[in-house]
């Protein structure tokens, strides 16, 4: 794979080795390896979906710090629509569409109006956080008993455990995205738009159209990530339930150097440390503050250890003027 630079492979392999070592040290967590794996994948699912979204957008040259806002919108819309229609498919689709619409606004503001993408992303986060609270309370008031909604089903894997169908979608999305991005003409165009939009333009690539598509797709994926929480995992909604996952996803994109497998590795690292933290807290009574903070500390260390170098898309964050 020519486009997977050696350093990226090193990072991915390094992180995965780290994960494997961690799993071996885990006997103290009181959890069976299969349980750790299932829990890791469950925790990683929303992160992974949002990270893939962020990656597409950033590869096309548009910073998307609004992932968190798009996720919570996806979570609420998914809940409301699954409730209204009685169908989890409609719920997840609704979450994807709602977050996609929010992304459309972000795209319009940052691509057509040449706005600062960070400003627009900040607005998306604020709107997502407060807007969902506003809508949720308008619908359900305070402290009411929420209706039971139809959820995305889980599939049982013998010897492993059961995984939500959205988890499987998220995991499959990684190689698919990597293939599309590095092996297809569309992927090449997308990357060229992020690296050098003016050059892309001269070979008749429609920069604006591609960037729009990329940003909307990033919203759709983040929305599915949010809907995973409400429609997939929990069948419920609570204010602020995404709890910063969009930012973790953003970090995963950067730690993974804008490469799907790198981002996957970063998400898995975060998730496995969280999963182990839960296990250690329960079995060994390790302080909850320590186990809660550990994934962030390790992510920080990963950022510092694996230098970022020049792997960011060259025109990231620069509007086309």
């Amino acid at each position: 794979m020519r486009h997977l630079t050696r350093s990226t492979v090193t990072v991915a392999v390094g992180v995965l080795i780290g994960v494997v070592i961690l799993v071996f040290v885990t006997n103290g967590s009181g959890l069976a390896p299969a349980a750790i794996l299932v829990s890791t994948l469950a925790i990683a699912t929303p992160l992974l979906l949002a990270a893939m979204g962020g990656l597409i957008s950033e590869r096309a040259g548009v910073v998307n710090i609004g992932l968190e806002g798009m996720m919570i919108v996806g979570a609420l819309a998914g809940f409301l629509i699954s409730n209204a229609t009685g169908s989890w498919v409609a719920g997840v689709a609704g979450g994807a569409i709602a977050a996609g619409l929010l992304a459309l606004v972000h795209a319009f503001v940052s691509i057509v109006l040449n706005a600062d993408q960070v400003i627009s992303g900040t607005a998306v986060n604020l709107l997502g956080l407060f807007g969902t609270e506003y809508v949720f309370r308008t619908f359900f008031g305070l402290g009411s008993e929420l209706p039971a909604i139809q959820r995305a089903p889980t599939l049982a894997f013998p010897g492993l455990g059961s995984l939500n169908i959205i988890t499987i979608v998220a995991v499959v999305a990684v190689p698919v995205l990597a293939f599309v991005m590095f092996r297809t003409p569309v992927g090449l165009r997308l990357r060229s738009v992020g690296e050098n939009p003016l050059a892309a333009q001269t070979v008749a690539i429609h920069v604006v159209k591609l960037r729009f598509a990329a940003v909307i797709l990033s919203g759709v994926l983040a929305g599915i990530g949010g809907a995973y929480l409400s429609v997939g995992s929990l069948g419920s909604f609570s204010e602020g339930m995404t709890n910063g996952r969009g930012f973790i996803a953003l970090a995963a994109v950067i730690v993974g150097r804008w490469n799907p497998f790198g981002a996957l590795a970063a998400c898995l690292l975060f998730a496995v440390v969280s999963a182990l933290g839960n296990g250690f807290q329960v079995s060994a009574g390790i302080s909850a503050d320590l186990t809660a903070g550990m994934p962030y500390l390790l992510t920080l260390i990963a950022i510092v250890v694996f230098r970022e170098s020049a792997s960011a898309p060259a025109s990231l964050g620069k509007p086309l003027r």
């Binding site: 925790i43 402290g143 995992s233 609570s238 602020g240 339930m241």
Partner: protein, 348 residues
Amino acid sequence: MKRNVILGTAVIGLLLAVSGCAGTPSAPAADSSEDASAFKVGLVSDSGGFNDRGFNALSLAGLTLAEDAGVSFTSEARESASDSDLVPNLQYFAQQGYDLIIAVGFAQAGPVAEVAADYPDVDFAIVDVATEGDPALEDLDNVQGITFKEQEGAYLAGVLVGGLRASGFEKFDGDAIGTVGGEKQPSVDRFIAGFQQGIISQSPDTVLLNGYSQTFADQDACKQLANAQLDQGADAIFAVAGGCGLGALDAADQAGAWGIGVDADQAFLGDFILTSVVKKVDVAVSTVLKSFADGSFEGGTDVLYGIENDGVGIPAMSDAVPADVQAAVEAARAGIIDGSVVIDLTIK
């Protein structure tokens, strides 16, 4: 920079203009208290907000409960988005001549002490805080503390769970029982400690698993923590984490284990809810209002709710519970009331 000055002046000018247009209809706040006999009650949430599915939500429900009981009052509730809102919210009510201000949560102990000292003519009640032993509060004679012996209600639930486990009741086939806390706080830990001791009193070989999600909002965090306990053999999960706890209960449901609800009776979640440890904050708030209406409200005192005065407890048990387990629960209830059962507040 000059550009900004102009800009800002224009913005402020516009704000003032709008404020002028709409100022008139909203201005008089006094006419809401026309009923002379009615007193005015202000309720201030802590940063958990009124949708916490916990004591803030129940405090708000307490106002409705009092209204339904025929107490005549007008009320307003203010939500605090963070600790920064506590003092201004309390001061707002005090300044506007509210007669009774109810503050919810231990974070308000300091703010209430500050504001109550400034407004000796306004009465305050504070949920989950005892004035006695708090140097800032104990000398104020216009503040009533309201606390709960959560451990007593939780102990009964523990006796029920432990008894069922010992009698080989359905779903009890593992060796552990799990508890999922939100943040580690005194009231959360009182629930957990009481529950654990209740279990041990009936089923001493039970492995007790405990953990904290460090959030009251992130349901999936609670769910994953509960899953870790279920994977380690837990047959029942007691969630003490407000809205987050719904995720832990859901994990129990999906794993075919029992769930134990908290604060309110959460049986509406489904048949997997074995029981709930009820903490009647709504009744306590309503009682304060009643006492205020009939003049028996006393500042400078503490009201303590436990099993004896029905402030905490568990809902009526179904007939499916074996008679000997029901008897054990009733014996524990009697023991707590007569003092023969002493609950230690340390977590195993």
